[in-house]
């Protein structure tokens, strides 16, 4: 039946499909593949002897390629699901169990030297982390900066991160607190769209430790505390409604509970009245810790003694300042975590100046810089 004409093609009740023999059609000996269902030569039905090939070389990675991301470029570091250990997809959800992975911006950690560390966390209630921190260590100088993005403004998470990084770099190079605040303000304004109806804004708290000399500056309600082994002090003064009440003679505990107490009166941002920080200094004489934090932490321990108690407990139960900072954040979250929580710690020892050389620690600083870099690529 060679050259079976098309118009009378066999019906299924007619010719039964037959397998190819030696790669050729059993009817016309035309070469055929093992998975062909018809002979390309004569059209006779064939019984396939092997499975058809995949329609396209669809590898696992090709299937999970991010939509619209066809360019070869710097791959995002692979993230692992905290729940099941599966890979986190580009959409932020685990590719195995579907659990939402926290965004990298939701938690920042830094430990540029063994005696300097900090953690910034989203907290429990807020849906993103608008706090930021930046820590720098160089020969003879430790810099701690915390900025708290104001949550009513647009993109304040981006603004606070930019501000903290810029201020810390400025302080590392110049040590000039007023200039650092001005540069941080520039960074906030630069992230604000020209037509933004609600300009990004952030608080500013910075501490510079040089030998036994501690200098600090604040705008808004992020704070600088000193926690010694037996003493403790709130060094900075808030720019807040509560502070205004306190200056009018109302006790701190009471003032901080009053109407609009948490409203800040000064900040960084395009609509800031002025960006000259309140500045202070202190010469340290005994061993202890410089603590810079956002209100997400001190809301649960505003009085210096209360905060010091938590800091000392965290340091005692943890190995090193990074672990202690994590413990403090976990404590604030356990207390309710109503705001973003950020805390930075730097140890001072009078005998062996802590702000010694730290050439090896520049690598650790990269963990701080990476979120900034990631942001600027967006």
């Amino acid at each position: 039946m060679t050259d079976e004409p098309w118009p009378t093609l066999p019906t299924p009740a007619g010719a039964e499909p037959r397998p190819a023999t030696d790669g050729r059609c059993p009817t016309c000996t035309y070469p055929v593949t093992g998975y062909a269902v018809f002979c390309e030569g004569c059209g006779a039905p064939l019984l396939p002897t092997q499975a058809p090939p995949e329609p396209a070389p669809a590898t696992g990675s090709a299937r999970t390629r991010p939509l619209g991301a066809k360019k070869e470029g710097t791959p995002e570091p692979a993230r692992t699901c905290a729940e099941c250990g599966g890979a986190v997809g580009d959409d932020g959800y685990c590719q195995t169990c579907g659990v939402l992975a926290p965004a990298p911006r939701d938690r920042l950690e830094a430990a540029p030297a063994p005696w300097v560390a900090g953690v910034s966390d989203r907290g429990v209630v807020h849906h993103r982390n608008e706090d930021a921190l930046a820590l720098r260590v160089a020969e003879g100088r430790v810099v701690l900066v915390v900025c708290d993005g104001v949550s009513t403004s647009v993109d304040s998470d981006v603004a606070s991160l930019a501000a903290a990084g810029r201020a810390a770099d400025c302080l590392l190079q110049t040590g000039d607190l007023v200039r650092a605040a001005a540069e941080a303000n520039e960074a906030v304004v630069a992230t604000t769209a020209a037509d933004s109806p609600n300009a990004a804004s952030a608080t500013f708290a910075a501490a510079v430790l040089e030998g036994a000399g501690l200098r600090f500056a604040t705008l808004g309600d992020s704070r600088v505390y000193w926690v010694g082994e037996s003493d403790a002090a709130l060094l900075s003064v808030d720019d807040s409604v509560a502070q205004a009440y306190i200056e009018n003679g109302i006790a701190r505990a009471e003032a901080e509970e009053m109407h609009q107490a948490h409203a800040i009166t000064r900040w960084l941002g395009r609509d800031a009245p002025d960006v000259v920080p309140r500045i202070g200094q202190r010469t340290l004489t005994a061993t202890g810790w410089v603590v810079v934090c956002s209100d997400g932490l001190w809301n649960y321990a505003s009085e210096p003694a209360a905060l010091a108690e938590q800091v000392r407990a965290a340091l005692e139960s943890s190995e090193g300042p990074l672990a202690a900072a994590r413990t403090l954040v976990a404590w604030a979250n356990a207390e309710g975590g109503k705001d973003n929580v950020t805390v930075a710690l730097a140890r001072f020892e009078p005998s062996a100046a802590p702000s010694g050389p730290a050439p090896d620690d520049t690598g650790a600083a990269a963990t701080l810089d990476s979120p900034v870099a990631a942001r600027s690529e967006r």
Partner: protein, 426 residues
């Protein structure tokens, strides 16, 4: 290049212990281009015309005219063939004895095909399985084509082969080509033709008046040639331990895809959607998850449209467990709407089947429910078609009486249109 986008409509909030997530995923295709013209491969079209004796002179002449009109709408360069079918299948055009059973459309082949069609004569019986088998062999004879589409016109029951033979032919054609089926007159079986169209990702409709054949064929061919995206698949990823309860296309028509999936990997199934033009389609997914604690959020499904290895769009279906009953008690309006539309299609088909078997009580109940659902979901077309089959006493409660004298064409029109849905937006 076609651009796809997607949108997800759902209430992602689940109560404590809640496990079932329902979502409507709308996928929109824009800039699809013309079939065979987008650089992703050639297109092939086969026109299959019933030439059985029952067609008679009137229907046969109308069918010949319609087939010629369809030729006019096949773009030049498209591979095509014309099949004449009765109890056997005949390749009417191209007039080749062996080799490729399709040719490229140009002015000359179009004229030759018209002449071949003009010789059609109504004679013999009906065996649609043979028609599908020939079409499949013809597509296979020209090698890889991106789009493979056929129009099948019939007028009668499939007398000259067994149901098993037809099923076998349908099964062999699945994934090979798409078929839009049209029935002329009232002597064909809606479920039989619907079976072909559903399996082969096409549509089914009745053409009551032979004069309508030309315009219908023109529209079918125009629509097919405008489907520049071939062989797209719906991919559904679910988390480990979850279950797909169902996946349905719910607009423009209801098509249950649940059991048509093939695994892509352990957590992802792929469902065929055929070719796409510039259009929107809605899918209803129901996913069962293991319950998580209050406050937790997780992904219930990733719904993607893929062509080959390329993902073109992705919609995320989410689940969030909440203690707030104001959030968890709400039923998403799109989900509610399409749940109603799916039931509407089912009760119309069940009601008509009961009516055909003489079970008037069941028919009245089912068609009454259909009237109620069509009213609730604002499906005016279904209501209008139901009105020709039942007298409506009270639509909101679904109180109806079966009409005593019903035009069979109206029953068949209600049946074929049962799966057509309306949308809600805004």
């Amino acid at each position: 290049m076609a651009e796809f986008s997607s949108a997800v409509y759902q209430n992602e909030y689940l109560p404590d212990g809640g496990t079932d997530v329902n979502a409507i995923v709308t996928i929109v295709c824009k800039g699809a281009g013309a079939a065979g013209q987008t650089g992703s491969g050639d297109a092939g079209e086969i026109i299959i015309v019933d030439t059985s004796g029952s067609m008679g002179q009137v229907n046969m002449n109308a069918a010949k005219q319609a087939a010629m009109v369809a030729l006019d709408h096949i773009l030049d360069g498209t591979w095509f063939a014309v099949v004449a079918g009765n109890h056997k299948a005949y390749l009417a055009y191209p007039m080749v004895q062996t080799g490729a059973g399709m040719v490229r459309m140009d002015a000359r082949t179009r004229a030759e095909a018209r002449r071949a069609i003009s010789f059609f004569r109504a004679d013999g019986g009906t065996a649609m399985g043979t028609w599908l088998n020939l079409a499949r062999a013809l597509f296979a004879s020209v090698g890889p084509l991106a789009n493979r589409h056929a129009i099948l016109l019939t007028d009668g029951e499939n007398h000259n082969e067994t149901e098993a033979q037809l099923d076998q032919a349908i099964a062999a054609a699945v994934g090979q080509f798409q078929v839009d089926c049209r029935g002329v007159g009232v002597d064909w079986q809606v479920p039989q033709i619907r079976k072909i169209a559903q399996a082969l990702l096409g549509t089914v409709d009745i053409i009551g008046n032979p004069n309508q054949l030309g315009p219908v064929f023109a529209e079918l061919m125009r629509a097919s040639m405008a489907r520049g995206v071939a062989n797209a698949e719906l991919r559904v990823w679910i988390p480990q331990g979850a279950q797909v309860q169902f996946v349905r296309q719910v607009s423009p028509t209801v098509e249950d895809l649940t059991h048509r999936g093939t695994p892509v990997n352990q957590l992802t199934m792929s469902y065929p959607t055929g070719s796409w033009g510039d259009e929107d389609r809605d899918y209803h997914l129901s996913i069962r998850l293991a319950a998580k604690s209050i406050g937790q959020e997780q992904l219930a499904a990733r719904v993607q449209l893929a062509v080959g290895a390329e993902l073109l769009t992705q919609g995320l279906v989410k689940a969030r467990w909440s203690a707030d009953t104001n959030l968890t008690a709400q039923i998403n309006p799109e989900v509610a709407h399409y749940t109603g539309q799916t039931e509407l299609a089912l009760v119309i088909q069940e009601g008509l089947a009961a009516k055909a078997s003489g079970d008037e009580a069941t028919a009245t109940t089912k068609l009454g429910r259909a009237v109620q659902l069509a009213t609730e979901t604002g499906n005016a077309e279904a209501t209008a078609k139901l009105r020709k089959v039942v007298d409506i006493t009270d639509a909101p409660t679904g109180t109806v009486r079966l009409k005593q004298a019903v035009d069979k064409a109206d029953v068949m029109a209600l049946d074929t249109a049962s799966t057509k849905t309306t949308r809600i937006r805004g």
